[in-house]
Symmetry: D3
Subunit: 283 residues, 6 copies
């Protein structure tokens, strides 16, 4: 027996940094969450619960042990100051990108996506975003706050411009978000129906994928801040993710909005872990 330092990275993500193709890291931030906070615990709890998941995917016939992923842990973010938190996320993602690795962010509330998108957009021209979500997140501001989870795709749009954002699964928002959105983003309401066409169109451009897990129906994903009934089921989400294999230039990914303490059964965390595994294996 040889005594080793405690290590508790996400299941199967045990590469050294130098060897890694993908770097996962957590952004435990939920200060602008308007309804029920708690996403700050997502990455921690996912690591802890990931040992209930297999490294092998029967869906893709691939194993996490065959790819190289480094777990960079969680950023230490300041609560109550989104501007500084976003800077910290951007800085970390930029360093990963400059080492030619793909950043994979685990939120936190959806606002954290903005940090990674800023970093990715600096490196890749003509960036496109595929956005899975229950909510449009297209508000100009939320009670005056522009750096809010409810505005995150609007902020991303300000960086990458018109017709670069492709939303799926959207089923909730203010009327104005949709009115505005019609001229600036592509919105596939309620489901993933036109995902094939979009993927076909984006297959050679740099694509950032952001998945707000509340795109899932709350029956299978109750552990989130704003449960919104009428979402897609797990197999539909999984089917969508498997289609990402046709994208030739995925430059960044994130999943967000798991709030584990709202689901004492642990199912939501198990779902998030499985989604993470499948996304890692897709790349």
């Amino acid at each position: 027996m040889s005594i080793k330092k405690y290590n508790a990275c996400f299941l199967g993500c045990e590469s050294e940094y130098e060897d890694a193709d993908i770097v996962i890291f957590g952004a435990p931030f939920d200060s602008t969450t308007s309804f029920r906070p708690g996403t700050r615990f997502a990455s921690k709890v996912m690591r802890s619960e990931s040992f209930g998941v297999e490294t092998y995917s029967l869906y893709q016939d691939k194993d996490l042990e065959d790819i190289n992923v480094f777990d960079g842990g969680d950023l230490e973010l300041i609560f109550g100051d989104p501007a500084i938190a976003l800077d910290q996320i951007e800085e970390f993602a930029s360093e990963v990108l400059s080492d030619n690795k793909m950043p994979f962010l685990i939120g936190g509330e959806h606002l954290v996506t903005l940090g990674t998108v800023r970093a990715v957009a600096k490196k890749y021209e003509n960036l496109h975003i595929i956005h899975f979500d229950a909510h449009a997140d297209l508000r100009a501001d939320y009670l005056g706050q522009e750096l809010s989870h409810a505005c995150v795709m609007r902020r991303c749009w300000e960086i990458i411009g018109d017709n670069k954002i492709f939303q799926f699964g959207i089923r909730s928002g203010e009327r104005q978000e949709f009115t505005w959105g019609k001229d600036h983003v592509y919105t596939n309401k309620f489901n993933l129906d036109h995902l094939d066409e979009v993927i076909d169109k984006l297959k050679d451009v740099p694509v950032y994928i952001t998945i707000d897990l509340d795109i899932l129906d709350p029956s299978i994903f109750p552990g989130t801040g704003t449960p919104e009934a009428g979402g897609i089921d797990f197999n539909t989400l999984l089917g969508g993710i498997l289609k990402f294999t046709k994208l030739n230039n995925i430059v960044g990914m994130d999943i967000n909005e798991l709030s584990p303490s709202y689901d004492t059964s642990g199912v939501s965390t198990a779902v998030a872990c499985k989604v993470l595994r499948e996304m890692l294996l897709v790349k």
Copy 2:
């Protein structure tokens, strides 16, 4: 700033009584619940959690802010005496009806429907009822108690007569309920399959709609007293509700059987709020 009295009505239901077309009110009563009580808290918790829902419906492209709903709060009902509680509900609904507004009752156990139906049936001849539920609720009595949630549709039948009640989604009951029911009510088992035909038939008569939320599968609605697997999913229920727009004479509505404390994730309450929003917008 001007300091105003605390108000915590259901989201977007802020009309004055005089201006209102619909009056929502709660009947926090569950004294005859035979398995797991707790529906008494439904209306209170729904108001409190409704601010997690949007006023705008992407499904109907309508907004609660465009219609006129008054929130009459909760009746103060006596626990342990269903006869008196039903009188109180009937009295309130009658006053609403006499002011030419539509009563919208939030239960409570399903028995409370009887109070509103009594009031509505006095005003409207030829009343029909559309009944969504997992349970037939057609018993003559339950352990000798005639004013029981398990008998509520039988009691309604005594008021409005044969072939006026149309049940959907029913998947549980005693054998005798179905034997009796065959001659007196229309029962569409398990799902909403023949709803179109029924709505077509009822489109010009006075219709009361009662939705026992346990028609939903407990995967999406675990917060109820008697969870009964095999129910419809949220989008199916929503599809059913949207069809009510074809009814020209809806004279009363209720939703019931949310028991929020059994679902610590809050999803069931969020579902009930969304159902309420869609039903209000349908009218």
Copy 3:
């Protein structure tokens, strides 16, 4: 009134032993559970909650009161010694079988199936097993432990041999389980698609049915040790069970892996009770 001894058997299973065709009994054992224990409480909690279910099945138009089931209670098993526990289960099942009654085991973790299968295989030559599960359970050993829930179907295979085990719904496992399994068992991944053909093939041979309830999607069955998203829904499982009526020689049954305390809503327990009722009525 006449005062009788307390009796709390499963709903509608009140036959005397002599009169019974089926004997249900609990095996409260979870010592080898590798992730989240708690299935030891399943049978106890199911009895306690079964009074929330009807004895009548609208799906089969049959009633538990019309069949003869004896509830033998729970075995008193030693925690921490699977070999002895399995012996106790085998002994009990053997006695039931020698009295020409069918044993119906309520787990516990899936390992307990091995005890009943040993007993059944001694009595019935050419035994086949229909296995519903999320997990293949085909490992040679788990961290060196051969008597583990993760190995239970491998142990059963050692008893009954090649091409006798028919798995459905499998969506998780190690790569090696599937590699090995290809040559020894029939595995229908993800769903029940080819169940009809299998039932047709097995309709006259002795069949043991083991249902790991985690074949269900965790949306409807969160109360289990290793929730695995992407499972079948309740109506699909029910449809599968109803097909068992075509089997002419069912010689034993079990359900397992309910871990009630992970689901504070009680839905998982209600689901397990309903599955038990339908399986009892199928026989």
Copy 4:
């Protein structure tokens, strides 16, 4: 091995009726509970969890296996009609008393005490009651309902008269309850301070003991309908119970107001089981 019918009585209460000195029975009734219902599940859950308690008491150096207690199970009570439920309780208790056994009732809400007290008062003249509770329960009526948990001691007083009820631990009520109470009952506020004197005074008269478990501080007993901070701790309650050994004529006992589902940790149920054990051993 010999297969026996399932039995799940309270730990160590396995006497036959004929041999028993004490008969425990449950009254699963909570229809008049004004705040949070759920005490109907207390007796069921206590039986189920009692196997986590030892039969031996280190406090009294006595063992349940040395005394004779019969578990009569739960009465099947009608929800929503307290008058009938009380009649059923009274009838059962009367039969027990006529067989010269002591009834020990497990509530349910506190109202159920009235049923047993009626039976006991018919048999024993000069009945006194020792009442442990957080609440005075002395209202004339509650929203017009006279058969309410909040009125139960007032109803008992109507049967046994002035200066026969001795309350301890009371820390909540309406002002009028205390104004009225001053002339009719003995109330020891907040704690058990004068219990010795009262026991000394009552040691040779017939005494009925009713313990509303919410006399305990909610830190140790959160599983109750109306948690009221500032109660006594467990050891103080236990000390009080041990003093009952000085009473020479205990003629009936009850404990009530456990509402197990409000305490997912199971502690409240474990506390109730331990209190029950100590009370049984005191007699």
Copy 5:
């Protein structure tokens, strides 16, 4: 019957603004919470659950119905920007003070106290603060953030100066907080031992009272973000509050740090309601 608008103010706080001596209001803010958020729901849930508490206090023999309290509801605060939130709180409290009423703030995280203290300190010279808490809250900054719950008493000290803050119950903090604190504030560690002397000293100066409810032991108050074992029990806290009657010039009060969703039993909320009642009656 006359139909009135829904009102759901805190129990017994139904005065009109003009008549009120005390104005309670909620500050649902927790953006700087560093461990477990959720205090934003405290005021909402307290109102909803307050009907489980009596208006009458047996401890003080006073009734909420005899005093005049107005419930101003909850401020609508921006999440993620503590500076603006504090301005909003200060503005509201200032208006209350300018109308010669006492503000009573319900947090929210402890940072909200700073808003009210700013308003009160502008009106009253020589302001003193009595501070009940488990944590010293004296940091200069927390990860660079100066407007943090962990710094709130340091920020208050910057306004009112040395030897004006009297802390009780403190049992946690960084070493530096205590080193710094020794020269600037009075700290009574662990308990309320010297409260009498402090109250005697402050009886004629303007005093603001802030109670972080985590001064209570988590056994009785688990529903808080950072549970810290070793706190005082409820009766000790109550005893402390009753001593405030000797203060002749209480100019503001608050309670904070209830995070209701961490305590599914509801006890923590019931405790907070009872503390609020007793504090209102003390004034």
Copy 6:
């Protein structure tokens, strides 16, 4: 910024192995738990939640950052085979001891203590044990199983002999345990009353300290398998721990029986973390 590998050791236990004086390690084992399992998660959850605790102790005026503790992570133990699990624990502890560091074990069920005691007893002659617990754990066997949590102190006694074990806080067990114990171990029932004398007596001999956290009252520590009311409060336990500073030769320590999922408030885990901190600082 420099990207480092994820590390999630217990708060403030970040020494390298070579520099450490104390080595903490987890034994996630609960296979013999007879009532409610779940202690296997204790060490994992404690690490994850430890960041809610301060490194500084106001009680001892010491800081974890001033001592040298290495976190060796969790052993990978086989479920369902206590003999092998104990060997693995013994092997690890032996290696730590041979490097002249003190092992500090985090259970797991109490049986794991046996592994460390075996290792310690091999190195230190005349070993004594101080044992804090609610339960005597002195059975010869439990349902035939000798390697059971209920027998652990009996097994330790077999190693170190008569009058070497000093038990405190014991309030539950079978009668035989106490009869046997009288002649072989010192048992201080219910509390820590004679701890001073024992510590005085043991101050120069090698002492192993094992704390079953269920010595605490379940009001403050509900998250355990067998809650046993009537325990000591946190400050009493803390007082006891502080007395260990007088022991000159502590050679091993453990805490055990935290079962975090039974306490959704997180308080039990926070308590365990605080106890661990104070014990580490005592050494």
